[in-house]
Symmetry: C2
Subunit: 227 residues, 2 copies
């Protein structure tokens, strides 16, 4: 379902160039569950942004569900992002003046889901991550881990085929982290393709395949023997 | 050096009340190194904000360096925050339009440190956290873990007596986390009082005293036998 071939991403900050990805190739079947790991600054978020169609490679190809992403129009990519990909951002990206419930409703607005259904699905998504009693809190009225869970709920609410989660448990205690992993595992068993960027080796042991990055290159990509 | 007695913090969100801290008492000698742990939403950041003089308790007393905090003027508190307390925020709170170096210079501006000295101390603080090659990048040109390390560098640059760090390694891989812990341990050996909020049990094993919160109350507070 996902295939990237020799992808480079070079940033120009005006006075230097940073090659965040240097020839990354990766291939995933539909329904796989993959962890992406590596040191801080190794290119994990950059990779995930490209896979999520939030950024384009400087060089190389990305084939998503059988079609080259660079051949699709911006409108087509917007629909793909909205309906087929659920993205959990490393820094949450919540709208600060909206409540938790309204933040989770956002993707459904774009898809023109009727108001009563939007509210109900948002409420139910927030309950699934343990925030049923925080629906009307704004992000600055929530703890760091609660904000992270709102970002997770928002990524799930459109029932996407692909979940891309950038360090979804970085602000969660071990019990809340396990609950999120249980949720991801249940979705994966139902056929959802999941890629989780994580620094947490405890989390990664529950994920069947691990891709390791270092300085913008893949240095390992394999299945765990016990998976 | 720090003593809080029966501290409550109640938030009013307009339609509900959230008691984030419900009678927390804590006492630290100068030079101690303490981990604060507990589930997401248990009150850790709220506690740290009060200790850092960024927030006031609804009820209870806070005695800092021998004087009641509520008896000090806002100006006095601002000087204490600037010169004696280094605060690492859970969500970094970097200024988005300034470079990493300029962000780290911020506390020194307030203290009227001359420009050449400011730049040099900021550069040196960023090198200490492994970001010597990212001085001129803005936050959105940095990875999540790099932003976190800029926030750490900024907290250290005034050589504070007290460091309050809210999940300082949440976005760091294990090697970068260890480097930050080595840094904190060296500062503690030089006499700095350090309180680290963390979800990471691996990190906490290196910290001699652990305070655990649950639902806004202290449920454990003790020294590790082996420390
Ligand atoms: N401004 C606010 N208004 C209302 N409730 C708030 C506000 N800020 C925090 N809260 C609530 O207070 C409780 C404690 O929040 P706090 O940020 O201290 O938790 P925490 O232990 O740091 O959690 P985490 O590990 O997720 O960062 C949470 O349940 C949160 O929803
Ligand atoms: N807009 C940008 N301009 C310049 N350099 C950038 C930009 N965004 C990221 N970088 C650099 O690209 C590299 C990879 O960044 P990326 O965010 O992908 O790392 P990461 O693996 O997600 O790290 P972390 O674990 O710290 O989140 C970093 O060294 C970073 O400084
Ligand atoms: Mg990242
Ligand atoms: Mg917190």
């Amino acid at each position: 379902i996902i295939r990237i071939v020799d992808v480079w991403r070079i940033y120009n900050t005006g006075f230097t160039e940073v090659a965040a990805l240097r020839g990354v190739s990766l291939s995933l079947e539909s329904g796989e569950f993959v962890a992406v790991m590596g040191p801080s600054g190794s290119g994990k978020s950059t990779l995930l942004n490209i896979l999520g169609c939030l950024d384009r490679p400087t060089r190389g190809r990305y084939v998503l569900a059988g079609q080259e992403v660079q051949e699709r129009s911006d409108d087509e990519l917007a629909v793909i992002r909205n309906r087929h990909i659920g993205f959990v951002f490393q820094t949450f990206n919540l709208l600060p003046r909206m409540t938790a419930q309204r933040n989770v409703e956002q993707p459904m607005l774009y898809a023109r889901v009727p108001a009563a259904e939007r509210r109900e699905r948002a409420r139910e998504a927030l309950e699934r991550v343990g925030l049923g009693d925080r629906l009307h809190h704004r992000p600055n009225e929530l703890s760091g881990g609660q904000q992270q869970r709102v970002a997770i709920a928002r990524a799930l609410v459109m029932n996407p085929d692909i979940i891309l989660a950038d360090e979804p448990t970085g602000n969660l205690d071990s019990r809340a982290s396990e609950e999120i992993m249980d949720l991801f595992q249940a979705l994966n068993e139902a056929g959802v393709t999941i890629i989780v960027v994580t620094h947490d080796e405890e989390l990664a042991v529950r994920i069947p395949r691990v891709v390791r990055l270092r300085d913008g290159k893949v240095v390992a990509d394999g299945l765990r023997e016990e998976a």
